[in-house]
Symmetry: C2
Subunit: 536 residues, 2 copies
């Protein structure tokens, strides 16, 4: 476990090394992306490539792209995405930072009027970025035109010092032993910082030399395409993270033995216990369910993109709602499921060497970023429902309805998948079993809703529950094979205990037999001669 | 965020300082305990006082207590509690470490026959303890008499080096940025380590000079009293941890504003949103529910202890089952609730400065230690039910039944509480509202079970749900006062944003404006002149 400073410096080192290899090997953008995925720590590079560059590509004019992208591609500038503020998250329209046009100098004045308007959270901002795409309220001729993006230089390209009027730093330690602590999420305040007018991202709208706000003829819907893309990749990531957690838990539960011995014989594999199965196998089924719905979303994104290029916006709204809802449900379920997998590994799941604490810590922000899950689900439904009086009163129920709708999509896509031809001996049958587990598990979990609405009878509910138990027995023999199919090769040999020991002995505390601090703080206790003062 | 070594050394420093003050101020044992609670990091001291000393008190003879306790009280020896093994947790009867009596030398030979028999997890073992109470299978005259406790010296009192035959170390990094990383949970293997016969803890049974295993006349049930004590204090701790998390979340939700603004006016406090209320207020009600059931358990423990002293074991079994079940339910609910409170604080809940990530990381082991929650619940019910064929097949359902039974106890104790006189204007009414929230929330969560068993009709279920919404509206005005009553004074002023900023600027990464590693890893990237090799 490294200190914050060590972790951060280590990320800088890894990123620089990866870049060196990318240049030396003359990798294409796609190849470079793959290489970067092997750098296992979150870092500034993710935001530079994942948010800064796409923002300029999506919201910048051709001219702006030609100016800024080559600099970004060569890392001659490093960028981040400064949207969220200390007091404002999911509600982008509530941002307070202002960009006021000054026709006298043909510049925008970027300013943080309050403490709560401080930019807060952007990854890469704290210590690294030289530039940011900053979102601010555009004010010109005394009118507030709402939130727009601006390219703002933050630090000197000569010596990395913050430019005049720019105050920035890191926002401090985060969840976990490592996780996002390798990332310099930042805080940023502007004190009347001036930028040229042409650093406003102008694809959709711009301000003329004399201060007029004008729209371009580019349809606004094009921007939603990016949001659909980002969220569909979050769903794909949910499936990956869940697969990894389930893989660790299933393998461990196959190795771990406990209770059930007769006359000193070997204990029983814990994977054989019905209580473990009823917690673990629905998660295994969910990992497959999310993979298939992720594949479908990927197809949907491609389809929407092609239609957008042909100026056909007919499927955009539904795709947008689907991806937002699926993002919310899959990330929430995955975060809870990783923690459940951790608990299913007993005490050892609490050790970092199990892989699960860090998987959890690095995963949970997905529930909040790119739209808080609850907010996303409510936006779905608030678009669909006419917002009559009482909408917010009923919102907890509507939230449950939205989740149910998304669950129906997931089950449907799983059912569609197992109706197709699937290669491999017996694979289709196993996936059919998992599909049934997934569907019946959802039914069991929300039994009250099914019964209350009369969709099923108590007798049917009991039968479904009984059936679920039988399905678990069918999953049991192939459980390990089903997680092996995820292709995680770490410790696939099942030698859990030697691996735990090996990791333990590598801990820095084991560098010396007698610990640092012994002579200072322990020996004086143990060797004390004079303790008559104490009444103990 | 400190490195593992820094964290650990810091705990040694704090413990030594606390002890110095305890001696200087001539504190009583009770006063010293209070002082130690202010040392906010888990450390070896907790196990020395909380497990090693009580084990000797509970399982040692008068003579053994007179020999060992004064040494422990003065820290001339430091002890830990070495029970759990790498391959064996909840099933104590499965432990593999052996203590074989050798009549030739009048000694026990302590031995770890396999890798999985390595002692694993004991706090304070890794780097600090000089002694341990070690649990091992007692073997004499060729017979295995099962698990017994032995006092074993591990390290030299002269130079702290491990004694011959003893291999030990730390088991590595754990969940969180700090949490239990300040603790030296350890691994320990014995290679035929010899200890005198009188270092077996002999209150219940002993081995005679010639190797006969004999029971004392002390009733075994006396030991259960300790288990009841430990678990009732875990329930009390659950209530404290949950109160703390709910307090942070309610205060933040009262300050945080989002959406709902009309024409640029101020946004709405998020605590006013029904979706936040429906997630947060049941947790607030749970914090009170756990406090009251904890008070009752404390009374139950006192009652059982008095009866035990009079050799009356009549209420012991029920008390044992109640505390085990309540331990399991309250710790599971609390762990999930802390994480839910964290999510209810949006992005800021992911920052360590919110207090919630570390509260979670330090809390979750409670679900596993002192008996895995699922195992505990199944033992309840397996004692009650005759273990007919099919018990394990039906175990997931029985588990749900056990949880329901425990929930009934919690609701009952809450109802009993609000039937008493409660001082303070309006306090009783507010507690009555929370009691209703708690009960109806449980009903809503398990609606399927209530409907399936015909306990309520769908119409009643819908009415209960409607009523729950009305109750939330009643809780809303007093929510902040209800958490203020928990008496956590940190940041009670509600100045969330300045506090977050203040914490951020203290991060080690902010010690310098230009980060360590800039000249080595960033400047070469940004200032590169030669990038023609790249195809990007």
């Amino acid at each position: 476990m490294l200190s914050r400073k060590e972790l951060f410096k280590d990320t800088l080192r890894k990123a620089a090394h990866a870049w060196k290899r990318i240049v030396e090997l003359r990798l294409t953008e796609e190849e470079a992306n793959l290489l970067r995925q092997y750098v296992d720590q979150p870092g500034y590079v993710d935001l530079h490539w994942g948010m800064f560059v796409p923002a300029i590509k999506g919201q910048g004019t051709e001219e702006q792209q030609q100016k800024w992208l080559p600099l970004a591609y060569k890392f001659q500038i490093i960028g981040c995405y400064a949207q969220t503020e200390l007091g404002h998250g999911s509600n982008v329209q509530g941002l307070e930072t202002t960009a006021t046009f000054d026709p006298k100098t043909d510049e925008f004045v970027i300013h943080s009027p309050t403490l709560t308007s401080s930019k807060w959270w952007p990854g890469g901002l704290g210590k690294v970025s030289t530039h940011a795409v900053v979102y601010a309220r555009l004010i010109t001729e005394g009118n507030d035109y709402g939130i727009h993006g601006f390219i703002v230089q933050l630090r000197s390209l000569e010596d990395h010092s913050p430019l005049p009027g720019v105050t920035l730093g890191d926002i401090g330690g985060k969840f976990g032993s490592g996780a996002y602590n390798s990332m310099d999420n930042g805080v940023l305040r502007f004190d009347h910082v001036r930028i040229p007018r042409d650093q406003m991202l102008m694809r959709l709208s711009q301000v003329t030399r004399d201060g007029k706000y004008v729209h371009s003829n580019v349809p606004k819907q094009l921007l939603y395409g990016t949001m659909v893309y980002v969220r569909q990749s979050i769903v794909a990531d949910a499936s990956k993270a869940l697969s990894r957690a389930v893989c660790i838990a299933v393998r461990y539960n196959a190795v771990r033995k406990q209770f059930g011995s007769q006359d000193g014989g070997p204990e029983t594999q814990v994977l054989n216990y019905k209580t473990q199965q009823s917690r673990l196998f629905p998660l295994l089924a969910s990992a497959y369910a999310f993979r298939f719905v992720g594949d479908w979303l990927n197809w949907l994104y491609t389809d929407v993109t092609q239609k957008l290029e042909a100026k056909d916006f007919s499927t955009l709204q539904e795709a947008h709602a689907c991806t937002a809802g699926l993002k919310a449900v899959t990330t929430s379920v995955t975060a809870d499921a990783i923690e459940e997998c951790r608990k299913l590994c007993g005490g050892h799941g609490y050790l970092n060497s199990s892989g699960l604490p860090e998987l959890f810590a690095v995963y949970v922000p997905a529930c909040t970023y790119e739209g808080d899950n609850i907010v996303l689900l409510l936006q779905n439904i608030s678009q669909a429902a006419s917002q009559e009086e009482g909408f917010y009163e009923r919102s907890p129920d509507l939230l449950e309805a939205a989740v149910a709708h998304i669950q129906l999509i997931i089950v449907t896509k799983f059912v569609e998948k197992v109706q197709q031809d699937i290669p491999g001996h017996g694979v289709k049958e196993q996936l059919q079993t998992l599909c049934n587990v997934y569907a019946l598990h959802i039914l069991h979990k929300h039994l009250g809703d099914f019964l209350a609405t009369g969709c099923i009878t108590p007798r049917q509910g009991a039968l479904a529950n009984e059936q679920l138990g039988k399905l678990y027995a069918q999953v049991r023999p192939s459980a390990v094979a089903l997680v092996d199919a995820f292709n995680y090769t770490d410790h696939y040999d099942g030698d859990v205990y030697p691996a735990l020991c090996e990791a333990a002995w590598k801990d820095p505390l084991n560098e010396t037999v007698v610990p640092e601090g012994y002579h200072e703080y322990l020996r004086p206790l143990i060797r004390q001669q004079q303790l008559k003062l104490s009444r103990l």
